[in-house]
């Protein structure tokens, strides 16, 4: 790693000490920061952890994964004094935001530990020793004398490990440092005979030490999170006016850089084009809800909310939205325009900020849709992320219906199984937009249904070279009967 060597005057005035963000985060901060900083820090850490999450979801490993993490670290938590402060505060802020449920805790733990591991292996060994000692982890890198005494055995062991892990020689060469730990602490390595043992000590190469330390860090953090979870209700009460809302929405917050609250100028969808767009440019969650709306003439509350805001995001005016919902709902014999007006118009006007709190509500991000619990198709609920809520058979059938099959479908199912829904969605996009490479790029997956929609439009614009106004292509034109009735 590029070590920033800089003289800094800290309280201990450790002149010449290198900056390092490696931390067990044992002591919570007690200084004041502004609300703006609070929010900015939280967002930046969330962006860093999200990058790690999506990169891992894509299956990046080794050097590739390290490079991505380094780039994201440099961008969001640079190795500077202010960066370190941000790292420190933001960790604790996110702990609060992610302590509230098992799902959130798992997500946070996984990515925090991954970040820790990256920092750990990228720290110079001599600093690691001091760090380990400070944190009461008794792992000392063995002395040069001991290393040369055991050289032959350790090299023999390295050859076994290389064969076992199918490591390339270079990467094992890189981290030759060995740590001496009581064998009881590395029983998995002992069990599989993957470590050299002498006189009751295991000689753990740095590549494996990280997993031992990471296990400890994970245990520590996990314990802290459950303590926070117990303390949360009281804190929530106290922070009702100030931070509670922010913290509670953080996990489902859309953190992309683009704003999808309103349709991009020019890429405005029209009611008449909806059936075509549903097939061509909507993500699976939205096209699914659209299909259900057309088929059953109804959607339940959460789905109305999700799909309704999405429609707003792709440029439908409040009147156009009325038109879509009313025309479909009133196909149900039990529904008529008057009843509809009474029961459902309010919700649409609410979404557009015309009722209640009069907020111009933003379309839900993927994070939020994924975290939304309890989608249950059997009881007629169709909201949520299909990559998460559909079972495998259902998802495969749905993909097939949308013309996605074979290896692409397998890849998607595999990612869905691994809970990497946004990457699954990214692959779905690629499959539907031949020639695009979405998941290999920086954005790596889909983070917002409206992002999916806009990417799709961009794709077709480039293809047709026509104006940005969305035109129904002849190839995907839909029978008039299927087109939505205009009232």
């Amino acid at each position: 790693m590029k070590v920033v060597k800089r003289e800094i005057a800290t309280e201990q005035s450790d002149a010449g000490k290198r900056l390092s963000a490696l931390s067990m985060y044992s002591d919570p901060p007690d200084k004041q920061i502004s609300i703006t900083e609070f929010e900015e820090y939280a967002f930046d850490r969330l962006r860093l952890l999200t990058t790690i999450e999506t990169s891992r979801a894509k299956g990046l490993k080794g050097k590739q994964l390290e490079d991505v993490i380094r780039a994201a670290r440099d961008r969001f938590m640079p190795l500077s004094l202010t960066g370190l402060a941000k790292d420190y505060y933001s960790h604790f802020i996110l702990r609060l935001a992610y302590c509230r449920s098992e799902d959130l805790r798992r997500w946070f733990l996984q990515n925090e530990v991954e970040l820790f591991k990256w920092r750990f292996v990228n720290n110079p060994p001599e600093e690691l020793n001091a760090w380990l000692a400070r944190n009461g982890l008794r792992y000392e890198a063995i002395s040069r004398e001991e290393a040369s005494e055991l050289q032959e055995k350790l090299q023999e062991m390295a050859r076994c490990r290389a064969a076992w892990y199918k490591e390339d020689a270079v990467s094992s060469e890189d981290r030759r440092e060995h740590y001496k730990v009581p064998f009881e602490e590395v029983i998995d390595l002992i069990r599989q005979r993957r470590v050299f043992v002498r006189a009751g000590f295991a000689y753990v190469p740095q590549t494996d030490l990280v997993s031992i330390v990471a296990t400890r860090v994970r245990a520590h953090l996990s314990k802290q999170l459950s303590m926070h979870a117990r303390a949360w209700p009281a804190l929530r009460e106290e922070e009702q006016e100030r931070l509670a809302g922010f913290l509670e929405s953080l996990a489902t917050q859309y953190i992309g850089t683009d704003d999808y609250s309103d349709a991009k100028a020019g890429s405005k969808a029209s009611v008449a084009d909806l059936p075509m767009l549903a097939k061509r440019s909507m993500p699976l969650c939205m096209s699914n809800m659209h299909t259900k709306l057309v088929e059953t003439h109804h959607l339940k509350h959460k789905a109305r909310n999700q799909f309704g805001l999405f429609l707003k995001g792709i440029g439908l005016t409040v009147e156009e939205s009325y038109q879509v919902w009313r025309s479909n709902f009133t196909k149900d014999p039990a529904m008529n325009a008057e009843k509809w007006q009474k029961e459902y118009a309010y919700g649409i006007r609410y979404n557009y900020g015309l009722e209640g709190k009069r907020t111009n509500w933003t379309p839900h991000s993927c994070q939020r849709i994924i975290m939304e619990p309890g989608t249950n198709a059997a009881s007629g609920e169709h909201h949520g992320c299909p990559f998460k809520t559909f079972d495998e058979v259902q998802l495969r059938a749905q993909l097939q219906q949308m013309g996605v099959a074979g290896t692409e479908a397998n890849f998607i199912l595999d990612k869905a199984r691994g809970q990497h829904y946004q990457v699954a969605c990214g692959k779905y996009f690629e499959a539907k937009h031949k020639g695009t490479t979405l998941i290999e790029t920086e954005i790596s997956g889909i983070s917002h249904p409206n992002q999916y929609f806009e990417k799709s439009n961009e794709f077709y614009e480039k293809q047709t070279g026509t104006s940005s106004e969305i035109k129904a292509e002849s190839s995907s034109a839909v029978p008039a009967a299927e087109a939505m009735a205009t009232s």
């Binding site: 023999e156 076994c160 009881e184 069990r191 043992v197 002498r198 006189a199 009751g200």
Partner: protein, 449 residues
């Protein structure tokens, strides 16, 4: 298995105060074929001889010294490890009595004489005195030697009749090899020093690793160490699974012990004290089957049937051919050597704290032989057939008693057991000196505060 692999099928079991289940251990004691006792053994073993043995020869004081690990003089009774140690007896009519415990040698001896156990097992050190275990809500094992149980019956390539004592004795070199290989690993790799190896009285050997660190290992750690020491048998290939390149511990065992043993013993003819594994077609086929290659098997069975050669020469021919013609089997060669030589641990015995294992100084009821300590350095020259039986001990005692009336020497020193008792005593002294050093260290480090 709990009872050192010597269990003879179903037994009636009684706990010190009845009705408690045996631990998981007993379930594993699947019935082995009941060995037909050689008629001579009956003369070597009888209740009368056993009474004499427990009364005059069994080293009850040393046993208690061992199991106390230097805590005999602790002020608090609860600090004496002996008090919390489970012992269990199997009586002559196969009743199994668990959760016995004693506070001093005299009580132990008294119970031995009244119950005359045909077998004594040693269990764990518990949180409380086992005989009072019903009184405590929390009664769990706290410490236990790391134990290893090796039995000839687990060496599945042996086509010798392990029910016959002479053939078991002939196979002893495999046990000696096992003790050498495992001693090296336990000492060099894990740093354990206080190893007590014990002849199991018929066809096996036990090891008690007594270092405090070993005694304190959790079940998870025990399990990991057992797996480290014992490569798995791959049921599909019939070979022990060894990844190549070999782990340094296996590699040095292979170079220093296994390969030489394979060449000098496994391949050597029975006439010259070997196992003659390539001398008869059935054994040849068994070895060749491990390659899982019909072409290779046919070729060599045919070749060896046509020409009479020493086993080692055949092996060299085989390995030479594998290296040129059957290259994919090169690593199989290593695994075959392991399969024929590497100690076959009963890992289940090693993995749990709560397993019982037959005590040293027991007498094997089928052979009458005393389960004597064996120093691994002397294992190669140890001859199981020379181990004193109850009968020989009694005879020696009789002879000595008549000759030296009025002497005060302990009875055991008048018998052949004396040399084994001396070995046990040496082991105890090593243990105790380590305990003294440990206490001294603890004292200085506490002074640092």
């Amino acid at each position: 298995m709990a009872t050192g692999g010597e269990s003879e099928g179903k037994k009636r079991r009684i706990n010190a105060d009845e009705d408690e289940e045996m631990p998981e251990a007993s379930a594993a004691a699947a019935p082995r074929p009941l060995p037909a006792p050689p008629s001579a053994a009956h003369e070597q073993f009888s209740p009368e001889l056993l009474r004499l043995y427990y009364d005059r020869l069994f080293p009850v004081v040393q046993m208690c010294r061992w199991l106390s690990y230097g805590t005999q003089n602790e002020e608090a009774a609860g600090a004496n490890l002996l008090h919390k140690r489970e012992l269990s007896f199997t009586t002559g009519d196969d009743v199994y009595i668990r959760y016995l415990s004693y506070e001093e040698p005299a009580a132990f001896k008294k119970d031995l004489l009244s119950k005359l156990p045909h077998k004594i097992d040693i269990g764990a050190i518990f949180s409380a005195a086992p005989r009072d275990h019903k009184k405590f809500k929390l009664f769990e094992p706290h410490q236990r030697e790391f134990i290893i149980d090796i039995d000839l019956t687990d060496y599945d390539f042996l086509d010798v009749d392990v029910k016959r004592l002479e053939t078991c004795d002939r196979c002893w070199p495999l046990m000696a090899l096992a003790s050498r290989v495992l001693t090296a690993a336990l000492r060099e790799d894990f740093g354990f020093e206080q190893l007590l190896w014990v002849y199991s009285g018929r066809r096996g050997i036990h090891c008690w690793v007594c270092d405090p660190r070993a005694r304190k290992m959790s079940n998870e750690v025990r399990s990991a160490v057992a797996d480290y020491l014992g490569p798995q048998l791959n049921a599909a290939t019939g070979r022990l699974k060894v990844s190549i390149p070999m782990h340094p511990f296996l590699r040095s065992a292979y170079d220093n012990e296994l390969l030489p043993f394979f060449r000098e013993k496994i391949l050597a003819s029975e006439a010259s004290g070997g196992f003659g594994m390539l001398d008869v077609p059935a054994r040849q086929a068994k070895l060749l089957d491990m390659f899982g290659d019909e072409e290779l098997k046919e070729e060599f069975l045919d070749l060896w049937a046509r020409k009479d050669e020493p086993g080692l020469k055949r092996w060299q021919g085989l390995t030479g051919k594998v290296e040129t013609k059957f290259k994919k089997h090169v690593s199989t060669i290593v695994e075959i050597v392991f399969t024929y030589t590497y100690p076959r641990l009963d890992v289940n015995v090693s993995k749990g704290m709560n397993h019982l294992l037959k005590s040293p100084w027991c007498v094997h009821p089928k052979t009458g032989r005393v389960c004597v300590p064996v120093e691994p350095e002397q294992a190669s020259t140890f001859d199981p057939s020379s181990v004193p039986t109850l009968r020989t001990c009694a005879d020696q005692l009789d002879a000595a008693g008549r000759a030296k009336e009025g002497e005060t020497r302990p009875d055991i020193s008048r018998t052949q057991l004396a040399q084994y008792e001396a070995a046990f005593d040496n082991f105890l002294k090593r243990c105790e000196s380590a305990q003294r050093q440990e206490r001294a260290r603890a004292k200085t480090s506490s002074l640092d505060f």
